[in-house]
């Protein structure tokens, strides 16, 4: 048997489908799974008993009606794709409700196997099953499984493959709906057959039943006038008999069928209670304490993301710096090679910059997966219902927003769980205000560069909070204007609290991180190369200023200064051996120790005295800086005074040892050398600025600079922001490239240090604010377009958010500029 067998997993939310799926497929999934919600069907492969199996994990649904998008997708998939077997994953500890979906799967005529999952939980609650009997009553094979321990999965696959081999053996029982309903079903089905309006793949009975259940999709599918007339008459007839909507009566009969089957076969020896979960809920869903606890938990997630991520991030940064150094080593010092620049500045600077944030991304997703897998996410939606109600949404809209902290794309897909279209659109439009993982990389780059350590976590939290507040305000605005309407009804299931398994956490984390890495290796690599080219070409060959002459001038000035140092040291005028000894280190040219060269010089003793004094003074100063940083003592405090005293004593000792050498060292370290460095750096910056301004990126950046200058942004940020529209991570990559290109290759200064030289903390904050609000990435816009079914909404999202970002950042920069 060489044919691939397709097995679809269907079941209620939280029944453990995804856990079983992950256990069976491991990491061999074709499509990445987003933590939290299975929003699209996910496929994976595994082998069982020598048979190649394609597994499909369907979104969790409570029924197969046409009321929500996921139920429709699930139903459409089952009808159109006809998987060889459907495994109905059932939470054995909540059997009757879970079997409701199973009865609908049976009615659809799918070859069915039921997996009674979480049977360990059911057992611990004293629930006993007579499986052979229940299996006979329902007419389906039943296996017991414990998904998170992988128990019973082999039997489940055996059963599924057996059913796949002989589908007719798995003819499940038909539910009888009672004489009155059955009569109407037959009437409608007869007309369906007569009108030959039964589409392929459906049975007349099923269609008739769905029509009586007021299923809009099936009505459209059939679309026959005669049938509609009969359905209308039947519905009217049933309403008068039962005094209730036919779909509710039909649902009631399904439940009656289930409880009839369970009566004989399921015994509960203990009263159904789960005290521990309820006890946790008395605290976590408390009407006063609940929301603060939730905010605290979110804070904890961000704190963890930052503090734990710092070390591995540092290692990765070092690794890339080292790799860049090794590659640079293949070329002679100061080489102008384009290939070197492409490899080191373009690819390592760009992609490496993005990849080094992988630990942060992994930790963020670990946090979100923890909240989701433990069952807390549903509580957050429950708690937030009250607040969300005020903005005209309900608690369920909160789940997509939380997922938005990971990535906007699955968040927009997750709005499918919302029944009302106005709700969906509102949520979709504001979801990008939830800072996604890609924007975290921007914050993670900027925050440590501009804010002291104890301000870093609060700063990150503040940025996230601003996003949330803006989303709330915007949603309220939308609900009051273009998406006006009554707040929709809210109901959500709160699953039992569970201890998440390491495996499922690992799978979630890995999936997401892999997507991130893949993005870095593809989209971001291409954009990095493109950006590098844009910042490197066209090359300028003739310059506006004569930089060589300017450099020579400042060098001559330095030599004059060194003569002055020599005189201070007590050397005779015109002695050039001193200058010869010191100049190389000022020019940053590696040489042998200057002291060695001048050993036979008569002034050797003085020169080495100077070098010694200089080193001692430099060491003393750096020690002083280090000890001040360590104690973080304030000026005027006892510690500070003590340190200052110790320092001046040490300085006095140094001066007393050799006065002239000490004075010369001071002059050299404080005046001559810094002045030279300042001048050469200014000349270098001007040269590079001229070079960059000549390139494509420079021209674009300078072109838009007048528009973004009022926000505190320069042309470099401008070019990076344009790239960030493709993917937010690109911003980091591009800043890396821009600042590496504008570096002569000698500095080992990290990007952060360069940024903190170039911008003020206010500018940095404005930058984060702008990135938070402005145009979400292309993928988000495309997803909004697809999910809303109209380009109008995607355009509104793009333009609305960008205008909002501009206005708000402008206000913050200008007003804060006045205050500071």
């Amino acid at each position: 048997m060489s044919k691939t067998i397709t097995i679809a997993l269907a079941g209620n939310p939280n029944a453990g489908k995804t856990t079983i799926f992950n256990e069976l497929t491991g990491l061999r999934q074709n499509v990445g799974n987003y933590p939290g919600v299975t929003v699209e069907k996910i496929t994976g492969r595994c082998r069982h008993d020598g048979v190649e199996v394609e597994l499909i994990d369907l979104p969790g649904t409570y029924g197969l009606t046409a009321y929500s998008v996921e139920e429709r997708t699930t139903r459409r998939f089952l009808v159109d794709q006809r998987p060889d077997v459907v495994v109905g994953v059932v939470d054995a500890s909540n059997l009757e409700r879970n079997l409701y979906l199973a009865t609908q799967l049976m009615e659809l005529g799918e070859p069915l196997v039921l997996a009674f999952n979480m049977s360990d939980v059911a057992q611990s609650r004293g629930i006993e099953f007579d499986l052979p009997q229940l299996s006979t009553l329902l007419g389906v094979l039943i296996v017991q499984t414990v998904g998170n321990r992988g128990e019973g999965l082999g039997e489940m696959m055996d059963a599924a493959l057996a059913v796949a081999r002989s589908p007719q053996s798995a003819s499940s029982r038909q539910i009888k709906y009672g004489r009155e309903i059955e009569e109407e079903i037959v009437k409608v089905a007869t007309i369906l057959d007569a009108e030959s309006s039964v589409p392929a793949g459906y049975s007349a009975r099923w269609l008739a039943l769905k029509l009586l259940e007021n299923d809009s999709e099936v009505r459209e599918l059939v679309g026959a006038h005669e049938v509609d007339k009969q359905v209308e008459a039947s519905v009217r007839h049933l309403r008068t008999i039962f005094g209730d909507l036919p779909e509710l009566v039909i649902a009631g009969r399904r439940y009656a069928f289930i409880s009839g089957a369970c009566q004989e076969t399921v015994r509960s020896t203990v009263e159904a209670r789960h005290t521990l979960s309820d006890r946790i809920d008395t605290v976590l869903t408390h009407s006063l304490a609940g929301v603060p606890i939730f905010l605290g938990m979110m804070y904890l997630v961000f704190y963890m993301t930052f503090t734990l991520g710092e070390y591995p991030m540092g290692w990765l940064e070092q690794l890339f710096a080292w790799t860049g150094g090794v590659i640079s080593g293949f070329w002679p010092v100061g080489s102008d090679s384009i290939l070197r620049s492409l490899l080191v500045d373009g690819i390592i600077g760009g992609v490496g910059g993005v990849v080094s944030f992988l630990p942060n991304i992994m930790l963020l997703f670990l946090g979100i997966s923890l909240l989701e897998d433990s069952g807390y996410m549903a509580r957050a939606a429950f708690l937030m219902d009250r607040l969300m109600h005020h903005i005209g949404l309900h608690g369920k809209s909160f789940v997509p927003m939380l997922i938005g902290f990971g990535c906007s794309v699955p968040a927009i897909l997750a709005t499918r769980t919302l029944e009302s279209r106005r709700d969906r659109l509102t949520t979709m439009l504001v979801v990008p205000l939830m800072s996604c993982g890609a924007r975290l990389t921007i914050y993670a780059l900027i925050i440590p560069a501009f804010f002291p350590r104890h301000w870093q976590a609060p700063m990150l939290w503040l940025i996230y909070l601003i996003g949330i507040v803006l989303a709330v305000v915007l949603a309220k605005l939308l609900r009051a204007t273009i998406l006006r309407g009554e707040a929709p009804p809210f109901v959500i299931e709160l699953p039992l609290y569970r201890l998440p398994t390491m495996r499922s956490l690992a799978v979630h984390m890995w999936d997401r991180s892999w997507m991130y890495l893949r993005k870095a290796g593809t989209v971001i690599l291409v954009i990095s190369i493109l950006m590098w080219a844009m910042t490197s070409f066209p090359r300028k060959t003739t310059f506006d200023r004569n930089y060589e002459a300017e450099l020579a001038g400042s060098r001559a000035e330095m030599i004059v200064g060194l003569d002055q140092v020599g005189r201070t040291l007590g050397l005779p005028d015109g002695s050039d051996s001193f200058v010869r000894a010191v100049v190389p280190e000022c020019l940053l040219v590696p040489t042998t120790s200057p002291a060695d060269e001048s050993k036979d010089d008569p002034q050797y003793a003085r020169i080495s005295a100077f070098l010694q004094a200089r080193d001692s003074l430099a060491a003393l100063r750096s020690r002083w800086d280090a000890s001040l940083a360590e104690t973080s003592a304030r000026p005027g405090s006892v510690e500070h005074v003590a340190l200052e005293h110790a320092r001046s004593q040490a300085l006095d000792r140094l001066a007393a040892a050799d006065g002239p050498a000490f004075a010369a060292a001071e002059l050299y370290l404080d005046d001559v050398r810094p002045a030279y460095e300042r001048q050469t750096r200014a000349i270098g910056d001007a040269l590079r600025a001229e070079e960059l301004a000549y390139t494509v990126a420079g021209r674009i950046g300078h072109g838009i600079e007048p528009a973004i200058r009022p926000l505190g942004f320069d042309w470099r940020i401008g070019t990076a922001l344009i790239g960030a529209f493709a993917a937010k991570e690109v911003f980091v990559a591009q800043m890396g490239i821009l600042f590496a290109v504008s570096d002569d290759g000698s500095g080992s200064e990290a990007l952060r240090a360069r940024l903190s030289h170039a911008y003020s903390p206010l500018q940095a904050f404005c930058l984060m604010l702008f990135c938070l609000i402005s145009a979400p990435c292309v993928a988000t816009i495309a997803c909004t377009w697809k999910e809303s079914g109209s380009f109008k909404w995607a355009a509104l999202q793009l333009l609305g958010l960008t205008v909002l970002a501009y206005v708000l950042t402008l206000a913050v920069y200008q007003i804060a500029g006045l205050v500071i």
Partner: protein, 81 residues
């Protein structure tokens, strides 16, 4: 004496048990409640009342725990048992 008059679920206090007399809201929403296991005749125990702060109510139906929005809880009629 137990009062058998139907009343909205939102008026029940924590710990009270009641039986669902009728559902409210749109047809689609009623069908959703039924597929989630809340139907006429279900026995409901209130764990957290929706109270005066317009929060959602937390109820138990058998082994399930459902959060029901205030607006909805006002439209689900129950009788005390």
């Amino acid at each position: 004496m137990i009062d058998h008059c139907p009343r909205p679920l939102s008026r029940l206090g924590p710990g009270q048990t009641a039986r669902v007399a009728s559902l409210g809201g749109g047809r689609a929403f009623q069908a959703r409640l039924v597929s989630m296991g809340l139907l006429v005749g279900s026995e409901i125990k209130v764990i957290r009342a929706s109270g005066s702060m317009r929060g959602a109510a937390l109820v138990a139906i058998g082994p399930m725990r459902l959060g029901i929005g205030r607006g909805m809880a006002e439209r689900i009629m129950v009788t005390l048992v």
